[in-house]
Amino acid sequence: MKSRFFSRRDFLKTASSISMVTALGGGIPSDLFASEGKLVRFPEKTDLILLTSRPPQLETPKHFFKELITPNEALFVRWHIANIPTSVDLRTWRIKVGGNTERPLELSMDDLKGLPKVTYTAVIQCAGNGRSFFNPRVPGGQWGNGAMGNITWGGVRLKDILAKAGVKGDSVEVAFNGLDSGPLPTIPDLVKSLPVDKALEEDIIIAYEMNGKPLTMLNGFPARLVVPGWYASYWMKALSDVTVLSKPLASFWMDPAYRIPANPCACVPPGTKPDKTVPINRMDTRSLIIEPSQGNRLPVGKEATISGLAFSGGYGIKDVVVSVDGGKTWREAKLGKDLGKYSWILWSLPWKPEQKGKYTLMARATNSIGESQPLDSLWNPSGYMLNTIEKVDVIVG
């Protein structure tokens, strides 16, 4: 089972590993978007797939993934603890910056808007996106693939704010808290932290705009952290406190929650526990086939288009290759408009099936530093970081 420990960022190219995967039955079930359940409508949102209502966990339906930019009303929603902000008064709301700093700060929305504004497009993706495709299944939010979106964020650099506060030399982490709280005091508050060097990176922002509009309440109004390239668990919504720490944060939501096995594949043999874990961090590379869908019927001899999207953890997409014969041969897809290294990119490939039969479509993306996707599904006990090469079966004729 050595191949399980290949990095999830590598593509298993060898013929032997491919046949092994086939022999195992190929890991993930077929339609990566099939689990579309009950649709519900929450304030400022369109019809989304209901996972839970309190706190709200809502998934984006598949058809929105044909678009380069996800509309605000369609972006997924994921809160952890049930007392979520439903009313915010901008006259009194402040972000408090403090802890191990030269001086404490209190920033209003006007203060934020007075600082230099940064705008870029970045994928936001839940760490558990695709959890329902793990085999064996694991408890947790049973997301299909709709816990992701591509949004143009506008806000101010965290680094600029930390510079104003003056981070002391012996600082190790920066912690983030939001306006949400648990309905019982025994529920650990949702507090997350980043290593101080990470927090001071150029591209991390406190965003007060999504796609040119104020954030929707359910996506973190009035402002949230954006850590482009990293999983959304760090993108604290309804941000209220930024605390510089001289000791690592002790928080349930950093440890034991949101941890991955401390090895290159972030995986362990199915059903087992890792000996050592690290906090989840940068996203792996993914490509998703949006059209056609699992089980679709296509006519013989007529040109169809295979299309989808691809993204990585902050290194753009170098290429996407597509197979229509279950991985035996691959062709390069045409990439759409490039909105930068944190954005997803749409891709497409024309395909004219000449013969009747069942075809297995697959897509594999590689980012600019060579990170790609595994053929074998990589398992971990919390169901994080799914990025197996997806298979979509279609029938021609």
Partner: protein, 114 residues
């Protein structure tokens, strides 16, 4: 063209186009105060002994739809979940009630049930 695709998707998802055209629910905007009202969506759980306990004790901190959302889980995993709620999150549930709840979960949402 694009409309057709959306329509096809909606039909395949079993949704009426009509429903889709209803405008999104707007937030209540009163000057600098931004407010929303969350809808109430009742959770539907399977009938069985112990359901009443689950509907009250497992609804203290979150909606009980956390339960039917899960895949079929082994009885051992359900029992572990119940004890996680008690130990990690401080669920005020007695040992006796925990047993009743675990049996309900294993019977109704278990992986090892025939």
């Amino acid at each position: 063209m694009k409309k057709n695709i959306v329509f096809a998707m909606l039909v395949s998802a079993g949704v009426l186009l009509l429903q889709y055209q209803v405008p999104i629910v707007q937030a209540e905007e009163t000057g600098p105060v931004h407010s929303i009202t969350l809808p109430t969506i009742p959770a539907e759980l399977k009938e069985g002994p112990g359901k009443d306990k689950v509907m009250t004790l497992c609804a203290i901190c979150h909606s009980p739809d956390y339960i039917p959302m899960q895949p079929p889980l082994p009885a051992k995993t359900w029992d572990h979940e119940v004890h996680k709620m008690i130990k990690t999150f401080g669920a005020p549930i007695s040992d006796e009630d925990a047993k009743i709840i675990s049996s309900y979960l294993a019977a109704q949402y278990g992986a090892d049930k025939k």
